[in-house]
Amino acid sequence: MSATAAPTGVRPRPGSELSALALAGLWRMVRWLKILVPFAVLVAVWWAIKASGDFPDNILVSPLQAWRTFVHLVSHGVMAEYASTSLTMIGISALISTSIGVPIGFAVGVNRYAAHSLEGFLRFLQGISGIAWLPLAIIWFGFSHTTTLVIVIYTLIVPIVFNTMIGVRAIPENYVLALRSLGAGRMRLVTDVYLPGALPSIVVGLRLGMGYGWRALIAAEMLVRKGGLGDLIFGARTFGQIDRIIVGMITIGCLYIVVDRLLVQPIENVTIARWGLLRK
């Protein structure tokens, strides 16, 4: 069609330019459809199950009802409040974990003995998920935001330290040697070699950590009950408000995807893909 490249020396006619634009727009629409159609099917199945089966409202609600509850919660600012609490929590935790975890990972990574020493310990800590420490944290800090923060920071910091460490260790020795032969001192090596070199791994660690951390956050909120989406859905359980639970779950899922795709992935793209270090 006219969307194909015009022969050299001939400028495309205005009409064909429009067709090209239309085609591009069509492609974008198709991509969006590819994402929306499966969910549409899912909702249809959901609706069918509710409609056909004899499920009372305290077991399953219909999509329509869930939507109404969602609108209700949003318009009364309830959703905003719970969601912002969760997002604030994960945001603060991410900031603190990164600012503590990356330097530690670096300090350990540059020395192979320290790295070998800490590796097993970090895996051990990872095996004891943040959630397992919740009871202890509750004893120490009570049912408070501090408890939630401590648990989520713990959950985030382990993969960040671990990945920073292996990121540093994975840097080819030649880079360091080459820079030393150019007269680089310790500080230079850190800024010019270690930091950029470890960055891909650090970003991976951050991404993984956010995944674990988000889940740990929801779990902590369920037990601590001081706000946040975990509190919302767990609280709704007590009152049998299935509609709220479902709305909460969907929100949790969507928010995670938004944070991951809109925040973390761009970081990955701008740095790593540009440097050709992404293994996609």
């Binding site: 499966p38 969910f39 540059v110 990872q126 959630i131 040697l177 889940r215 037990l223 899922g253």
Partner: protein
């Protein structure tokens, strides 16, 4: 300007050096234990807040002796086995179907991404209503966690098997089933095994979370019940055991399996190592 040790000195290859290398991983643990014991002796905190090392050891000893610890451990492991078992089987089967048929994987992808985002404990409030408190709930949460990981890794593994291999078998006269059996299954195996290893790690963690809320027994429940009585010695003991089992499972069960199959076949793939943490 001194040269960093990493460049100038190699780890010694004599017997003493090797021994030190082997012992290094124990150092952080020893340091923490020392700090704990010393801190306790100096500050004498409230037992409910921070028990002494001896208290924790005593808890472990008494509970192990009267079989209570064993009961909890077995209960937890049994749930893990159930949930992870079903999760692995369904994940592999689902992953194969999706991996082999492009339309299926394209269709399912947005759904998988979404449900992965809410996998595990997020289902707890909803599922309590449907399954009640107990083993069924825990098994569901584990299945949920393990399934998505194994599924995604399997799909990746199946899709990444170089087409050339498949074509080779076809050229030898092999049909669809033969291709799957001799090419795709072994080809995807590294990813599948990574998925299983990852999934089990996640599943174990999800299990503890599930047990925190409501099962009659299990390590998670043991910890949570202890919180009510402010028995931090039990909590710490429980946490340490949870971590120990996680490591033991990974090192002595999964790693050897991985080694015996894919490393032996020279199929180790670097990209998947990220899933390890």
């Amino acid at each position: 300007m001194s040269v960093p040790a990493a460049i100038m000195r190699r780890p010694a290859h004599n017997a003493l050096g090797r021994l030190v290398w082997r012992l290094l991983p124990a150092v952080p643990f020893v340091l923490i234990l020392l700090a704990w014991a010393i801190g306790w002796a100096v500050f004498h905190p409230n037992k409910a807040t921070l028990p002494s090392v001896g208290d924790v050891l005593e808890v472990v000893w008494t509970r192990a002796r009267d079989g209570e610890l064993g009961t909890h451990i077995f209960a937890s492991l049994w749930r893990l086995l159930l949930g992870a078992g079903v999760g692995i089987v369904t994940g592999i089967i689902g992953g194969f179907i999706a991996g082999l048929y492009r339309n299926v994987s394209e269709f399912l992808n947005p759904l998988v991404v979404f449900f992965n985002a809410i996998s595990g404990i997020v289902w707890l409030p909803l599922m309590i209503g449907w399954l009640g408190i107990g083993t069924a709930l825990a098994v569901f949460l584990i299945w949920n966690t393990v399934f998505f990981i194994v599924f995604q890794n399997t799909v990746l593994g199946v899709q990444l098997v170089p087409e050339v291999f498949e074509q080779g078998v076809r050229a030898l006269g092999g049909g669809r089933f033969e291709t799957i059996r001799s090419v795709i299954l072994p080809g995807a195996l590294p990813y599948i095994l990574t998925g299983i290893r990852s999934g089990l790690g996640f599943g174990w963690r999800a299990l503890i979370a599930a047990e925190l809320v409501g099962t009659p027994n299990g390590l998670g429940q043991m910890i949570f019940a202890a919180a009510d009585y402010h028995r931090s010695d039990i909590i710490i003991a429980g946490c340490l055991i949870i971590g120990a089992i996680a490591i033991a499972m990974d090192r002595w069960l999964l790693l050897p399996i991985e080694r015996r199959t894919i490393e032996r076949w020279g199929l180790v793939i670097d990209a998947t190592r990220e899933d390890r943490t």
